[in-house]
């Protein structure tokens, strides 16, 4: 539209310098909603366990569009193939009302309060008042019908917007796009083993939610969890207690497009190692916890899996941080498990929704441990509170300079590709290489 020509061009062939306008330009952001969030990508909407019974629903988001995830009735013959999860847009087909206001609940059907248009759980329009008009008597005393919808009005053509839905191991994804490839293909064979490792064959239990509003561009959150450079520097707990730092055996994995990633690492004992702690002010050599229960790590059998890239060998990571483009992060950090959902709100702000979970066969002690370790994560976490703070400061820096500035992501070079260490920004470069293709910049 009126955007300067320079905004549509990336000024280098590589993706190792990300222009500030990628985070600050409002028109570009509107295009991102169309091409990324409403385009051929799968967006996370929730966990199946959040809607356990028929009629259970919860509100969620795909981009800036509010959607309803609901468990529909499923005929007995379809139960083997249809998990019954539907995702419909929370917008009445009549006058566009965002009709559902309760964040979660149980419904037999959805009724818009304005004119009582009524929808089945699957989004089909079930009926509307005065569709066939109102019986009356004309001036000659003859029976007539006043008003009503046109005779060719088709209920079937006027339901809610239905999203395509796929459920993978209890994770619910949806897309507005008919072009999106099947979910397993979308995620790719490099990433799938790491989802299988956490979720396959297990029933989840919902532990609860934390929500934060972060004044930064949504991509900064994806970058944060594709950036293995910062955790051992920004986060005292990680470097001091050996939860994540540059002297650990680790691996950066990505899908064929570079859009999704897994950061995998194995905890060490922490303490001093001059190659990674010397001069690092966040390293606290003498720090001990007053109450060690905050970090009472107990290894779980499922941590150990066959190494996907080294057949015949096992691997036992303590941490896997999975970014699924565009809007989901899945965290396993020792015994703490969560999904983190990015909900964009304009180019300079997003909501970040944490859903902590455990497994149905957890002992009470393990549940307690997961809840205690949740002190490390979330908006008040010993570790992750800093992430939201630095994202806010990044956005401020971009905005104060203007559009000709750029970030520099050249740790480990300017190329893209997986690594067997964490001294790299390759995952960020790879995501932007993909993002540029999608956005045509």
């Amino acid at each position: 539209m009126n955007a300067p020509e320079t905004l549509s061009r990336w000024n280098r062939p590589e993706s190792s310098r990300v222009p500030f306008w990628a985070y600050t330009d409002a028109q570009l952001y509107r295009r991102e909603l169309e091409k990324v969030f409403y385009g051929p990508h799968w967006c996370y909407v929730g966990l199946e366990v959040e809607v356990p019974n028929t009629g259970d629903y919860k509100l969620s988001w795909v981009g800036e569009r509010q959607v309803i995830m609901v468990r529909d009735r499923v005929a007995p013959k379809d139960r083997g193939t249809d998990p019954g999860i539907r995702v419909v847009e929370n917008r009445c087909a009549h006058r566009g009302v965002r009709f559902c206001q309760q964040p979660h609940g149980n419904a037999r059907s959805f009724v818009c309060p304005y004119h009582q248009w009524t929808y089945k759980l699957n989004g089909d329009l079930a009926g509307l008042p005065f569709k066939d008009g109102v019986q009356a008597t004309d001036e000659n005393g003859a029976a007539c019908v006043n008003g009503g919808m046109p005779a060719d009005f088709d209920l079937k053509a006027n339901g809610l917007t239905k999203l395509r839905v796929e459920v993978l191991h209890g994770l619910v994804f949806a897309t507005f796009s008919e072009e999106a490839e099947p979910l397993a293909d979308y995620l790719g064979p490099q990433v799938m083993p790491w989802l299988d490792r956490i979720f396959n064959g297990r029933s989840l239990t919902l532990l609860g939610y934390n929500r934060q509003r972060i004044p930064g561009n949504w991509k900064l959150m994806m970058e944060n969890i594709k950036d293995p450079y910062h955790p051992g520097l920004l986060h005292t707990w990680f470097v001091t207690f050996g939860l994540w730092r540059a002297d650990q055996k680790s691996r950066m994995v990505m899908d064929a497009h570079g859009r999704h990633a897994v950061m995998i690492s194995r905890r060490n004992d922490g303490g001093e190692n001059k190659t990674v702690t010397d001069g690092v002010t966040s390293f606290k050599a003498n720090m001990v916890l007053n109450d060690a229960r905050l970090l009472d790590v107990v290894p779980e059998p499922w941590w150990k899996v066959p190494d996907p890239s080294n057949p015949g060998h096992d691997i036992m990571p303590t941490v896997t941080m999975i970014t699924l483009f565009p809007s989901l992060i899945i965290q396993q950090q020792v015994n703490s498990l969560s999904t983190r959902h990015i909900v964009p709100r304009g180019e300079g702000e997003f909501d970040f929704v944490w859903t902590h979970f455990g497994f149905a066969d957890d002992t009470p002690e393990m549940t307690q441990r997961r809840l205690r370790q949740a002190n490390l994560f979330g908006p008040a976490g010993f570790v992750s509170a800093d992430d939201g703070e630095v994202i806010e400061l990044s956005q401020q820096g971009f905005e104060q300079w203007g559009e000709d500035g750029s970030t520099l992501c050249e740790l480990g070079g300017t190329g893209t590709g997986g690594t067997e260490h964490m001294v790299t920004e390759t995952l960020i470069r790879s995501m932007y290489a993909y993002w540029r293709k999608v956005m045509g910049v």
């Binding site: 934390n210 720090m287 109450d291 902590h356 809840l371 002190n375």
Partner: protein
Amino acid sequence: MNPPVRAEPVEALLLEAEINRLNADYASALDERRFDEWPAFFLEDGRYFVQGRENFDRGLPLALIALESRGMMKDRVYGVTQTIYHGPYYTRHVVGPARVLPAMDGDDSGLVRAQANYAVFRTRPGDSSEVYNVGRYLDEIVRTPDGLKFRNRRCIYDSEMILNSLIYPI
């Protein structure tokens, strides 16, 4: 002289006054950034939770902050003063009058249950003040030789969104 509107045992009024003073002392320790004094408002095995109302109402156990001893509170103080990077801010707690709640089945004699509404405002350097966290304290209080102490303080917040991060105790 008019008769009192409502007859109140003097003991009940005194107890409310004592709890109000405890809350005022607690708030001033936080607002004046005397964080090292904060764990001493609790018993040695006292508990402190900051939890969203949605989790509380639905019986979901996750809390934003979940501390189960003075030791954990000291670890939190070390975190907020030494290890968690965050932009600087001031807090101002405004705590409403305490209501003493009825005892529950199985309560020890001497345990006092109380509730008070709170609002915490945040002010960052160079910025105007903003409503940061609003909710209610749900307290279990016991009398000790050192005065009233929290056995359990739950801060159940209404605010649906944490404004980026929450660092200092509420």
